[in-house]
């Protein structure tokens, strides 16, 4: 905390959430000098994961705005023509509530010191096996710092029309799973395979031809197009539900794109297209920070970041803990945006986390489960559940975290639907947390923010990371057009040597023969 910070760096990154971490690592990798600061004592900000004993930290500390005393002290650091802009404490999480529903379980977990075995994600997402995130992880070799497991079960709730009873059916993803599935008739299986073949062909076509193939249906509902293709009603529903997790309310065009995205990732690492990071999603932010550190980025957590200094419309320095650090660029998470920047729009994502000691659908082997709740909340754009437990290293053995995520539209709350899902297998959660995640859209045109201040992408409602990573890439390329964004690592000499060796032995074989 008292460690002296450098006087000047190329880039100061404020906040250690995933997008900030990605950008920090990209800058450091590109050879820029980076200082990465966070007011929190932990990594990840609103993208973090917490153990059960640390989860209370999620409550943002009361913003300590600068006292007049501090302000005058800081002002002394300013030179002529420079202007002080106090940094904000934007609230991105609100209505945070958590409570124990069964105290005996709490005592037991504490006694067995299991509380630290939880890894409670604020933003539970998955990775598309062939999506932008996996590509970036591999190229940048951040993948070396993390481990992943396949989401091995995708469930789809169906409501019985007679008694309203909900059942959870497995969604077959791969050819093998379709083959084994007993819910689909063979004609449906056939139609599904035909559809998959069509997608594979469609994917290979140029954009214009793709649109042409969809004809008049392109911007009409996906279902109509599927019907046209001879896909029966049950199967239509099935396909739309399956890809709905990537693309709610698809048109023929977006539906086809999502189908291709889905199928592309199927079979890459296993039958399911999705991966989940072990020890929770918060790991990813830390892994990118680690890469940044390897390339020389400097890290300071728990540092009171107070203000920025502007001159001629540009930010030239940041003041943290009464120290001035000069910089060329500032990348900041929404939390740090000055309070006087007008907010145009706030979108909200409802989040509920349950801790349970029983899976929502028990299986022989513990599963990582994803459920699309769209059919139960048709008005809402997003409603899904991720259940992860010991297998994903996010809970002690025999325990699970059930993450419900939803947007607010419609009458049925995500909480109600999550309750229905838990009720199917009579799951009694012993702990519950709920909060609202906020995405703030700032009015950057007014000029309160300088041109060299880069706003990092915020938490989005999407299931996977592709959009976040793509956005980071765009931001990076826009600001540093002459630098590469986390480029593929060049093979080192050792590997080259191995290759030579192989060819050499290949020819030796001929000598022998």
């Amino acid at each position: 905390m008292d460690e002296k910070l450098p006087e000047s760096v190329d880039v100061i990154v404020l906040g250690t959430g995933l997008p900030e971490a990605v950008l920090a690592s990209a800058c450091a990798r590109a050879g820029l000098s980076v200082l990465h600061l966070d007011r929190n004592e932990y990594y990840g900000g609103e993208w973090s994961s917490f153990t059960m004993s640390m989860i209370h930290e999620v409550n943002q500390k009361a913003p300590n705005t600068l006292t007049p005393d501090q302000k005058s002290q800081i002002t002394e650091l300013l030179e002529e023509d420079e202007q002080l802009v106090e940094l904000g404490h934007q609230k991105v999480l609100s209505e945070v509530e958590m409570k124990w529903l069964q105290d005996d379980v709490k005592e037991k977990l504490e006694k067995e010191s299991q509380m630290r075995r939880f890894s409670i994600d604020l933003v539970p997402k998955v990775l598309l096996s062939k999506g932008a995130m996996v590509q970036t992880l591999c190229d940048s070799q951040v993948s070396h710092y993390a481990e992943f497991k396949l989401i091995n079960r995708q469930l789809c709730p169906t409501t019985s029309s007679s008694d309203g009873h909900i059942t959870l059916n497995s969604v077959p993803c791969s050819k093998g799973e379709i083959f084994q599935n007993s819910a689909l008739s063979i004609l449906e299986k056939r139609a599904l395979m035909k559809f998959i073949t069509f997608c594979t062909q469609w994917r290979g076509k140029p954009d214009a031809e793709r649109r042409e193939l969809l004809g008049a249906h392109a911007d009409r509902p996906f279902g109509e197009f599927l019907k046209e293709m001879g896909v029966g009603e049950t199967l239509q529903e099935f396909i739309i539900n399956t890809i709905g997790i990537l693309q709610p309310r698809p048109t023929a065009m977006t539906g086809m794109l999502a189908s291709c995205e889905f199928m592309d990732s199927v079979g890459h690492f296993g039958p399911s297209p999705f991966l989940f990071p072990l020890y929770g999603c918060g790991e990813l932010a830390q892994c990118f920070c680690r890469l940044a550190a390897v390339f020389g980025s400097l890290y300071c957590l728990g540092r009171p970041v107070q203000a920025m200094i502007k001159k001629d419309g540009r930010v030239i320095a940041i003041i943290a803990n009464n120290e001035r650090i000069n910089c060329r660029h500032v990348i900041m998470s929404a939390r740090f945006v000055p309070e006087d920047v007008p907010i145009l729009e706030t979108s909200e994502i409802e989040r509920i986390v349950y801790a349970t000691d029983k899976s929502i659908k028990e299986a022989q082997k513990e599963q990582l489960t994803l459920i699309n709740l769209a059919s139960l909340r048709p008005e809402a754009a997003i409603s899904r559940i991720v259940e992860v437990g010991f297998e994903a290293c996010t809970a002690p053995k025999g325990h699970f975290l059930v993450h419900a995520t939803g947007t607010r539209e419609g009458e049925t709350s995500i909480e109600k639907v999550a309750g229905q899902i838990l009720a199917i297998n009579n799951v009694q959660p012993y702990w519950k947390m709920s909060f609202t995640g906020k995405t703030l859209k700032f009015d950057t045109t007014a000029g309160e923010l300088a041109e060299n201040v880069i706003l990092a992408p915020q938490v989005d409602a999407s299931l996977h990371y592709s959009h976040v990573v793509e956005e980071c890439r765009e931001i990076f390329c826009k600001n540093w057009p002459d630098l590469d964004f986390l480029p593929r690592t060049i093979k080192n000499d050792e590997e080259n040597e191995e290759e030579v060796e192989k060819t050499a032995t290949g020819e030796e074989n001929q000598v022998e023969n």
């Binding site: 990798r29 590109a30 050879g31 050819k175 093998g176 379709i178 083959f179 084994q180 063979i186 004609l187 299986k189 056939r190 599904l192 395979m193 390339f295 630098l483 590469d484 480029p487 060049i490 093979k491 030579v500 060796e501 060819t503 050499a504 032995t505 290949g506 020819e507 030796e508 074989n509 000598v511 022998e512």
Partner: protein
């Protein structure tokens, strides 16, 4: 050092690489010569083990070196065996010696594992594993089977691995039911897997068939068809599913013509006396010594065989015994071979004719049709409708019809086969033509069957029937005196 683009290999670098390459080749040759020299001197010591290991790690295909290793290890095993028999050695020392051999064998498994990892199709490396397992005191079959499964997940058609698995499962005394379950697992993962279906067919036959019968029960066939149906519905172009379906059909069939001749049991079809000779016709080619076990002569010389492949065959379906006096045959209905209480059957007045067999051969009667066959026909029909350009459902339906409805569906069979020959599968025109020919021949023979059996006339007439082959006619050799195949 970031963003250093890889420099294209310059001539200089190429030269350096070539030099390095030559150096390595030289190194290899040196090691090779050293190994060979040691072998020639019979020095199967630690050094030769380490030298061969060095090279095999880089190239597992040099079987000579594996051979040398085996010799070296055999010597140590033998030495240990003798050591254990010695009387004046402490048990402790004996245990140590035995352990040393076990360690050596375990090391061999590790080496071959490394080799297989870099070259999963190395004959020698796979062979070495089986060889080691046979010599280990307590081979870990579970681990070995798991290894096979992993290798098959990477390449489900690696026949080296399939072979190895067969060997290991035999050594581990795995039941065929377990292997059937294993094939289930692989098929569920990916049904386009010839090898797994084939493995399944072998396991099924071993479980349900004995040497005498090669026919599977209807209940098993029905269950298997349900399974494979999922596959050909999902991908009607997938050959493995259709090939397996065809195999099921053949196994449910009592008829021979779909099967290779070697599967047919030898049976006498007819025996008849024609004034100057006695003609014997069998279901499959037989030799004179075999026939002599059925007839009342030991004469080996007066036989004349008829075959389309040779003018004087040693093995044939049709044989004539040239003699003015008729032969007597052992009554084929009672005992297949001469035994104590059998009766000679005279052919002087009436020939012997196995009518049931002939009826089967020429589809004179249609067999009983199990429910699953009707279902299969219906499935094929549906797929033909959905995919008129796909040859498989049409071919399969025709095969089933030929088997179960040759009379009722004669014209559909011929039409289907023509469609296949002319547009859907033109590469196999001759195959379809010969199938059509046989159907037409059978059709014609059916019409004349009663007459031929009644001995009113021994003339067979099959005119203008687009016959391309007369295969099958030979079964009638004892009944037909003259034939008219004009217009074919």
């Amino acid at each position: 050092m970031h963003f250093v683009k890889k420099v294209p290999t310059s001539e200089q670098e190429k030269a350096a690489k070539r030099k390095e390459h030559e150096k390595r080749a030289q190194q290899f040759l040196r090691v090779r010569d050293r190994i060979v020299a040691k072998r020639d001197k019979g020095e199967y010591d630690e050094e030769i083990l380490s030298l061969t290991q060095q090279i095999l790690e880089k190239n597992a295909d040099i079987y000579t070196f594996w051979n040398i290793r085996r010799t070296a290890i055999e010597q140590r095993i033998e030495a240990n065996r003798n050591y254990l028999l010695e009387l004046d050695v402490l048990d402790e020392e004996k245990a140590k010696s035995a352990q040393k051999v076990e360690n050596l064998l375990a090391g061999e498994l590790f080496l071959s594992y490394e080799c297989i990892k870099s070259n999963p199709k190395s004959y020698s490396a796979w062979y070495q594993r089986a060889w080691v397992l046979q010599r280990q005191a307590n081979p870990d079959y579970v681990k070995e089977l798991a290894l096979c499964e992993k290798a098959l997940q990477m390449d489900c058609r690696n026949f080296h691995c399939w072979d190895h698995r067969r060997t290991v499962s035999r050594m581990a005394k795995r039941t065929e039911e377990q292997e059937l379950e294993f094939s289930n697992r692989l098929i569920e993962e990916n049904f386009s897997n010839y090898s797994a279906w084939h493995y399944r067919s072998i396991a099924l036959t071993k479980i349900h068939c004995d040497e005498k019968s090669v026919k599977l029960d209807d209940s098993i066939l029905a269950a298997e068809l349900q399974k494979v149906k999922n596959a050909f519905y999902m991908d009607a172009d997938d050959q493995s599913a259709w090939t397996y379906t065809r195999w099921l059909l053949e196994n449910g069939s009592g008829k021979e013509f779909l099967r290779p001749e070697s599967c047919t049991p030898i049976q006498l079809i007819s025996a008849s006396f024609h004034g100057t000779n006695t003609t014997l016709v069998f279901t499959r080619a037989v030799t004179v010594p075999y026939i002599l076990t059925l007839v009342d002569t030991d004469d080996e010389t007066s036989w004349r065989g008829f075959s389309s492949t040779s003018p004087s065959p040693t093995s044939a379906r049709v044989w004539q015994y040239v003699s003015d006096t008729p032969l007597q045959i052992a009554n084929p209905l009672e005992t297949p071979e001469k035994s104590e209480n059998f009766a000679w059957m005279s052919l002087t007045d009436t020939p012997y004719v196995n009518v049931a067999k002939l009826k089967m051969i020429f589809d004179v009667e249609e067999p009983k049709e199990p429910a699953f066959i009707q279902e299969l026909l219906e499935d094929c029909r549906q797929l033909i409708e959905l995919e008129p350009k796909n040859k498989w459902p049409l071919y399969m339906r025709s095969l089933v019809l030929m088997e179960y409805r040759p009379i009722r569906s004669h014209s559909e069979i011929v039409d289907n086969l023509k469609l296949l020959a002319e547009s859907l599968d033109t590469k196999r025109v001759e195959l379809y033509k010969s199938l059509i020919s046989r159907q037409k021949l059978n059709f014609s023979i059916r019409e004349q069957f009663a007459r031929l059996l009644s001995h009113e006339s021994d003339e067979l007439v099959v005119r203008y029937s687009e016959l391309t082959s007369l295969e099958g006619v030979e079964f009638l050799a004892g009944l037909v005196g003259s034939a008219d195949f004009s217009g074919n």
